[in-house]
């Protein structure tokens, strides 16, 4: 098919070519492509009448469900951008995101939190309650939206909010071009066909989910969402892969490492599985070796890329990787993508030297919602003079053969279970606690989960707080995955000569 100008075009194409194929199979509850497009276009009429159009942003706050995909494509059909929201986030954070994105329409499993009452004009939900929210199911009585599929404003298909170092989450603008290009590359690279059953493990606010959704639809394959209640339980997760006859699995490494440790993988029948893809954090090499031994007839691929660039490099695990305990490479650029490694003064480094990775290509973001300053800081003129490049903040080195190796961050960002965490956002929350004088959040290495978070705090004179109190405070202000796992309470935090908190000393002091 030609390049999509709206991700809805991918669904329309699948409905034309694989109409009777199953688009989504949610543990036995399924919907065919012709039905999915029918429901999406009926809901699109309702959303359009509520005001959704190119330029508007619509909240998408769903648990894994068929409704979630109906709503996503319905929003796209109107030309609006969808903004995934995890309903479990603190209400203040959801409100902050809705303000930044300029959200007036809400779609979700449940009605929006009451804190949003003054912002959200209309809400459409799977589970109607006593609020003003309208049941999604009622849209079946509306006619299908007709006419040309409008391109979204500035090509922006969705906004993905991630942790912000200043204490406020930032919304990455993901373009239709990016999703179209990435899903085309992915469908080709992994040879996806309509016979594939592709798991959807990542939440919708994670960029990983865009592969599951759009590469699957592009191939006319079946997407199989992983129920929330299964995700935490490694044996159940392995059973899901076996029983759902999953052929392509994509998740953060920690989900795979958990299965390797506690999934009793030898007990399950993985004969349907042919490709396992992982991204979002560093895969521990010993765990990968063990996984390859337990699930032998499968291909393994490591994908790399911040939300701002979508997936930009990939590495197919080969025989050499199974002989070495060295960290797995992040590999080579995907099609039409250019990368550079530059020094502090923005000059390209010699082969073999470390520097910051810059990325340019069709999958690049247009910037951050409502934050031109941050956009200018991170999107810089590409070294080859062709458009813009994203400064990843990742320290990378190239091998002689051009394969890229990830070496860490040049800033303080922490990866934890695939989540991007800016310690500054947690510190900002901690400083909101009346007893805290000093606070710093650092990463502590964890063999399964990559990193755990440790908060180091010092109280004001005469003040104090229990660990339970500090945790409750964090839980009210940041998402659960950003609540520190460990607490180090001190009289004062160590300082550098310049009077800043000495993070290195904190990390070394245990």
């Amino acid at each position: 098919m030609n390049a999509a100008t709206n991700v809805f075009d991918l669904l329309a194409h699948a409905a034309d070519t694989h109409g009777n194929g199953v688009a989504i199979d949610y543990c036995g509850e399924s919907i065919r492509y012709v039905e999915l497009i029918d429901r999406a276009e009926r809901l699109a009429t309702v959303l359009r009448d509520a005001g959704a159009q190119p330029g508007s942003r619509v909240a998408h706050a769903f648990a894994k469900s068929i409704d979630a995909l109906v709503a996503m494509f319905a929003i796209a059909r109107t030309g609006a951008a969808y903004v995934p929201i995890d309903p479990a986030w603190p209400a203040d954070r959801i409100a902050c995101i809705c303000d930044d994105a300029g959200i007036g329409i809400w779609t979700g499993t449940n009605a929006p939190p009451i804190e949003l009452a003054s912002r959200v004009r209309r809400a459409f939900v799977s589970r109607a309650d006593n609020s003003d929210a309208v049941a999604l199911a009622s849209s079946v009585e509306s006619p299908r939206m007709t006419g040309a599929v409008p391109a979204p404003d500035r090509g922006i298909a969705n906004l993905l909010f991630t942790s912000g170092s200043t204490g406020r989450p930032k919304g990455v603008e993901v373009t239709t071009l990016s999703l179209d290009h990435f899903s085309r590359w992915g469908a080709n690279q992994f040879q996806l066909t309509s016979a594939d059953r592709i798991a959807n493990h990542a939440p919708f606010n994670f960029d990983l989910s865009t592969f599951d959704i759009f590469a699957s639809v592009r191939a006319g394959a079946t997407m199989c969402p992983v129920p929330e209640r299964v995700k935490m339980f490694p044996y159940q997760l392995a059973k899901f892969i076996a029983e759902q006859r999953i052929s392509v699995w994509y998740s953060v490494p920690s989900a795979l490492v958990m299965m390797q440790l506690r999934g009793q993988l030898a007990e399950h029948d993985f004969s349907s599985l042919r490709h396992v893809i992982f991204a979002g954090e560093v895969m521990p090499t010993p765990a990968l070796h063990a996984l390859i031994g337990l699930i032998p007839n499968v291909k393994w691929t490591n994908l790399y890329g911040p939300t701002e660039t979508n997936v930009c490099t990939y590495h197919s695990v080969n025989h050499n990787d199974t002989l070495s305990t060295a960290p797995l490479p992040i590999g080579r650029p995907i099609s039409d993508t250019r990368v550079w490694i530059v020094s502090d003064d923005s000059r390209e480094v010699a082969t073999g030297e470390s520097g910051e990775l810059l990325v340019a290509g069709p999958t690049l973001t247009t910037g951050y919602a409502n934050d031109a300053q941050l956009t200018r800081l991170r999107l810089v003129p590409a070294p080859d003079g062709d458009g813009l490049a994203y400064r990843t903040g990742d320290r990378v080195r190239a091998r002689d053969d051009g394969v890229l190796l990830f070496e860490g961050r040049i800033d303080r960002m922490i990866k934890c279970r695939g989540h991007r965490i800016e310690p500054g956002e947690i510190e900002a929350a901690l400083f909101g606690h009346p007893s805290i004088r000093e606070a710093a959040v650092i990463a502590v290495a964890d063999p399964v989960f990559g990193n755990r978070l440790r908060a180091c705090v010092a109280f004001r004179d005469g003040a104090g707080a229990s660990q339970a109190d500090l945790i409750a405070h964090c839980r009210a202000n940041v998402p659960a995955y950003m609540v520190p796992d460990e607490w180090d309470i001190r009289d004062a935090l160590p300082q550098t000569d310049r009077g800043k908190i000495d993070l290195r000393a904190l990390a070394d002091s245990r």
Binding site: M232, P234, M258, R262, Q264, D446, S466
Partner: protein, 108 residues
């Protein structure tokens, strides 16, 4: 009952099997409960002593996630000396202190 601490009676209908607890087992279960509560609400999901949740409170609502669940299993294995089979691990087994103590009891 011989050396066993647990026996089962066939219910009158011959279908339901009711566990019968010996005194030693009841005491051990109380100890397990105490230790689990202390670990959960003192270390894993710290809660002010005055505001500690009941034994039927949802641990998921209190913040039990994949990382903490793995830590809990290690604690049960190392500190209580009980191995919990991976295939039995489901949301129902770990949703509350009551559920966890029950699960541990089955493997004592």
């Amino acid at each position: 009952m011989g050396g066993c601490e647990i026996a089962t009676l066939n219910h009158l209908m011959g279908q339901t099997r009711l566990p019968v607890f010996t005194r030693g087992m009841r005491q051990r279960r109380m100890k397990d409960r105490e230790k689990i509560r202390e670990y959960l609400f003192g270390t894993l999901l710290p809660t002010a002593v005055s505001a500690r949740p009941g034994d039927d409170a949802s641990l998921f609502d209190l913040g039990l996630d994949s990382l903490r669940l793995m830590q809990l299993l290690v604690f049960v294995e190392q500190s209580l000396g009980v191995n919990l089979p991976d295939h039995e691990m489901t949301p129902e087994r770990v949703e509350s202190v009551d559920a966890i103590v029950e699960w541990i009891g089955e493997h004592r």
